[in-house]
């Protein structure tokens, strides 16, 4: 096959590479933010807050190039759908970086308060769910793998469940006002991790749109229509 738009398609590839850079950084940032919480490591938390600037910088670069490509190349069909994915996935990854930064700031703000082991285990488990979800979403993109993208809602379920039940653990800390203050902050951490999972599902939906041309939020049991693009 002859390629008549090699410059344009090379620009699209570069945008995808930027997304992958963002996702790798986002994963590291989320891991480190939770690690700082588990270890009570204020220095690591500070590094995470500073590290968010790099994700923001990459996102600004994605947006700048995205606008240039749109203005100059007028993409259509699967190229247009990929452009849509790049912008939305870029935004999702940038927000994941923000969530990591928010967790790190909570670590700094609660460093003098007593902690609760059960809640920490809950949060560690949530991390072990949502960080691989980000990896799975990006793998689905790189491999153009619809089945992998479709698995994301199911991977997200345990994270949602843990987040919904976090309040019970927080309520169990009610007898100790200082620990309760810390635990209430942990609800925010739980919520931030749950949002990371949701963002990974969003990226999966974008991958499904790229591959099928069908625009859907993943409901329970969604499968693309037969013969879709």
């Amino acid at each position: 096959m002859t390629e008549f738009r090699s410059l344009f398609h090379s620009e699209l590839n570069q945008l995808e590479v930027l997304l992958l850079d963002m996702s790798e950084l986002a994963e590291v940032q989320i891991n480190n933010a939770v690690e700082a919480l588990l270890q009570g490591d204020a220095e690591l938390a500070h590094q995470v807050v500073l590290g968010d600037r790099e994700i923001d910088r990459l996102y600004v670069e994605v947006e700048r190039r995205w606008h240039e490509v749109m203005a100059r190349q007028t993409p259509v069909a699967s190229d247009l759908r990929l452009m849509s994915l790049i912008l939305q996935a870029g935004h999702s990854l940038e927000r994941m970086g923000d969530q990591a930064s928010n967790i790190a700031k909570i670590v700094e703000a609660t460093s003098t308060l007593p902690t609760n082991r059960t809640i920490l285990l809950h949060i560690r488990e949530m991390r072990s769910i949502v960080v691989p979800m980000v990896e799975t979403a990006m793998e689905a993109l790189v491999k153009r793998d619809l089945n992998l993208a479709l698995r994301l809602p199911e991977l997200d379920d345990p994270a949602d469940w843990l987040n919904r039940n976090m309040w019970k653990e927080v309520a169990a800390c009610a007898s100790n006002p200082e620990m309760l203050e810390w635990a209430v902050h942990m609800m925010l951490v739980s919520r931030a991790l749950e949002r990371v999972g949701d963002r990974a599902v969003d990226i999966g939906e974008q991958v499904a749109f790229l591959l099928t041309g069908e625009q859907h939020e993943f409901p329970e049991g969604w499968v693309p229509a037969p013969g879709s693009a």
Partner: protein, 283 residues
Amino acid sequence: MTTVGKPEVNEKKRVDLNVPMETTTGPALETFAMEAVGLSAYYGEFRAVRDVNLSFRDRQITALIGPSGCGKTTLLRTLNRMNDLVQGARAEGEVRFHGQNIFDASVDPVELRKRVGMVFQKPNPFPKTIYQNVAWGARINGMKQDLDALVEHSLRQAALWDEVKDKLDESGYSLSGGQQQRLCIARAIAVKPEIILMDEPTSALDPVATLRIEELIQELKVNYTIIIVTHNMQQAARASDHTVFLNMDSDRAGYVVESGTTGTLFTRPARQETEDYITGRFG
């Protein structure tokens, strides 16, 4: 005295999400102005277009796109039997217009071309005045009506009246390229066609004149069915309601790969062949 009253509330029109975007400006009921059925076009032994089955929607803009040599122009020129004028050209199959096959012996091609007008790639005004250019078709067809009113009406519809109303006696050649093309559109409109065929009508025009013609086409579709051949895919995407993609076989016979609403064809084409062509991966 000015009365200060309650400010009017600018209520935004609600968008009906159940209606696809590209059909919101179309007629309420889908009707077809013309249909090609099993249409093939030949130049001598060479088959330029094979087995075309297409329905052109009434008062909508249909764009024909495809690589050079795929038979877009041949197909267009077959729709009003303009190709009859080319030696060795012939057609098989049918083109139905008002229920009649235009290739029937009883059909007068001159009468057909009056009802299915054509605008060409290069503006081709006659070496006459602006007025005479527009009035010409009506005169030779013996149309008995107020020619001044017809000329004004046609020039207004072609969005040219304001620019030429004070110089109707000047030569058509005195106009710019874009104005000349609008003059040719006014000339086509003056004989009151139902369908206007346009063969790359902006390929000889600058970008501003091109956009002006595209705007004009949008206005014209209220009254006319428009079928336009364009090499410019972005023009098809901008200006048409429906798009037909043609490709050609190894024997260079053009065929229809896919047709559909322009919005769908340019976002999620059904055929890989279309996807490859419009994304520039054509081979």
